[in-house]
């Protein structure tokens, strides 16, 4: 980089480093977020807020942002070392299998001097990130990540960032490599790559709980060694503690250190000369966004020791839920449980909304709705005595039922419960009689077989 950077102006060099820095940060966000196990949905905005780098709506996960910054801070110069993201699977038993390694490398030999840093390189980085979005949904790890959100899955997907050479040996035999995005710049080529495991069968020999061979302290070269082996973190950890806002995404120094700090809207305008169609960038005409002081911004919870077993119990990739909701889980399987609660309320003759217990437990809209329905039900005309003990719901006025409970669901239910036994069971038929009946019936079907065939044939014709 040193030999070629002389061709660039100081401003361009500064911009390029800044763009690269954010390109890496955003790519790490995209990778980890794609392994959350949930679908991503961000809205397009006709007018950018100014914090959307590369004109892409990427909601930063604070924990991932902090981790990524830590790793990038370890670099001596722009992409002097590869930035790697390792995605691994950890089972409840503590077994680990590395699924894929994403790595960004830099080749200072391949130079594209025709491209302008401002907008040209910026735009190419945007395209590479779009490719990353698309490609990150393709490898097997994506399916695994999505399945982990299903209750009862016995693994969690983790990530780990490190600098240096990607450790392909952890991906097992027959792993595949793929280039995701390429960004040629005036000082070299940035490439975003993926290497992923193809053999997903977990066996004791395949796991990477321990390295497969003895590693001496000086086994790796000092400059490419993952010096501080960081513990893989569950991808979802940050997501579940979401405290995402535009403000917490950028440190104030990110905006101050360079004038072309974000996507063009407010910080950098692209000026097109009237005689020439390609716009040149006029940097630094914008005003700076006022950010709250760092200590006033939402702070993520302090890092705890991330025992997977504890995470798993609360549903590692499920929607955030308070712990006290969980014991109710089994009870929810009883239909219309909330209606039962209202029976208790009825006996107290206390209006539901005045009951502090009901209010405190109805944190979600759905529950609130049920409660209000329940208060209506207090006016139900039917009585409890006519119903069997194990069925309470019929006594309540269901939302769409008529006034007379004998004509609605209650009647239906009672009919079903006390159904008359069929006449064939009342008559004491012998086994022989039954067999005879079956035989005659079969014979009748056989004689009418042509009719049946015609009938099915008529459907087939209609289909065509």
């Amino acid at each position: 980089m040193a030999s070629t950077s002389g061709r660039l102006s100081a401003q361009d060099r500064k911009d390029l480093e800044k763009f690269t820095n954010f390109f890496v940060l955003k790519s790490l966000q995209i990778i980890v977020q794609s392994r959350l196990g949930e679908k991503i949905k961000t809205k397009s905005k006709p007018v950018s807020s100014g914090a959307d780098w590369f004109n892409l709506a990427i909601k930063d996960t604070p924990e991932v942002h902090i981790e990524a910054k830590k790793v990038i801070a370890g670099q001596q110069s722009m992409l002097a070392q590869n930035v790697c993201t390792e995605i691994s699977l950890r089972t409840t038993e503590g077994e680990t299998m590395v699924l894929e390694t994403w790595y960004t490398d830099f080749d200072s030999e391949e130079i594209d001097s025709s491209v302008k840093v401002s907008y040209g390189v910026y735009n190419r980085m945007g395209i590479a990130l779009k490719s990353l979005f698309g490609v990150s949904r393709v490898p097997p790890a994506y399916r695994l990540a999505r399945k982990q959100s299903i209750n009862g899955s016995d693994y969690v997907i983790c990530y780990r960032f490190y600098l240096g050479e990607p450790q392909f040996f952890q991906l097992g035999d027959g792993y595949q490599k793929s280039t995701v995005g390429v960004v040629p710049t005036p000082v070299g080529k940035i490439t975003l790559n993926l290497a992923y495991r193809t053999k997903l069968l977990m066996s004791p020999h395949r796991t990477t709980r321990d390295l497969p061979f003895e590693v001496k302290d000086d086994h790796f070269k000092s400059e490419c060694s993952p010096r501080k082996q960081t513990e893989p973190k569950p991808c979802s950890l940050g997501f579940r503690r979401t405290s995402i806002s535009d403000d917490c995404r950028l440190d104030s120094q990110d905006l101050c250190s360079t004038t072309f700090s974000t996507s063009p809207p407010d910080y950098a305008y692209i000026t097109a000369a009237s005689s020439y169609k390609t716009p040149a960038i006029n940097i630094g005409t914008g005003t700076k966004q006022q950010l709250p002081p760092i200590d006033q911004r939402p702070q993520s919870a302090p890092e705890k020791s991330n025992s997977f077993s504890t995470l798993h119990r609360v549903g590692a990739f499920a929607q955030p839920k308070s712990l006290k909701d969980i014991p109710l889980k089994g009870l929810e399987e009883i239909p219309f449980l909330s209606l039962l609660n209202n029976q208790a309320v009825k006996t107290d003759t206390t209006p539901v909304k005045d009951n502090p217990e009901t209010c405190s437990s109805s944190g979600e809209n759905m529950e609130t709705a049920n409660s209000s329905t329940g208060s209506e039900l207090n006016k139900s005309t039917s009585s409890q005595t006519s119903a069997p003990d194990d069925f309470v719901m019929v006594e309540l006025k269901t939302p769409f039922a008529g006034v007379d409970s004998n004509n609605d669901l209650g009647r239906f239910y009672r009919d079903c419960q006390g159904a008359l036994s069929q006449s064939m069971f009342e008559e004491g038929t012998t086994l022989n009689d039954t067999l005879d009946q079956v035989t005659t019936q079969l014979a009748m079907f056989e004689t009418k077989m042509k009719d049946f065939d015609d009938f099915v044939g008529s459907f087939h014709e209609l289909d065509q």
Partner: protein, 218 residues
Amino acid sequence: MNARSQVFELSVEGRQIEEVVQSLFHTLLLHRTLGKFHYKQEGSYSIGTVGIVDEDCDFIDLTYVRVGSDNLDLAIRREIASFRDSLRFNDGPRSGQISLEFYQKKRARWPFQAECIPWEVWTVKLDVINLANEHERQVCREKIGELLSEKVLFVAEIMNRHEYVPKTPNQSELDLIFDTSFLDVQPYLYRISHSTTEPSSTSVGISMRKFLKDTLAL
């Protein structure tokens, strides 16, 4: 100028037609859609933000990423649905092709209409197959998912060659390069066209008839 052209060929079940085409076209449009341009003054403009949406397929083991714009999605779906209808509900054609073409306009003198010059064309050729049982459907579902995954990687490879795309225009020429009809995003001008062909099974009969007719005409 010659437009770049890429062709994808796949054999799919009738119910997979839409999702196959949607996944490919949306992956392409993700790369070929920018944020909305807002010209502030002569020559300077700001660019809006492009949202991202994950879409799961029902009949293929695949999740693809599309631009977060419901209107763009709707416009694409409409075109693809019409292609699906012509493939599924007619007696004859069991194969067809649908193209996503990016073009730019060149103003012409009155009374001629603006000239459309394509610069990139992506074509999806589909053969519709019938599967006998649920097992075959499951295999097909996975197989098509794998094939489309390869195509997504291929699209990424092509897009990252950074070949020709029209230059960013002045405000007066914006609608010669971009489709400005969407309120939230701004794709390059594109159009979708499709055609269907006769089933290969009857082609022998048809060509025989044609041959006889031609002979008689002599």
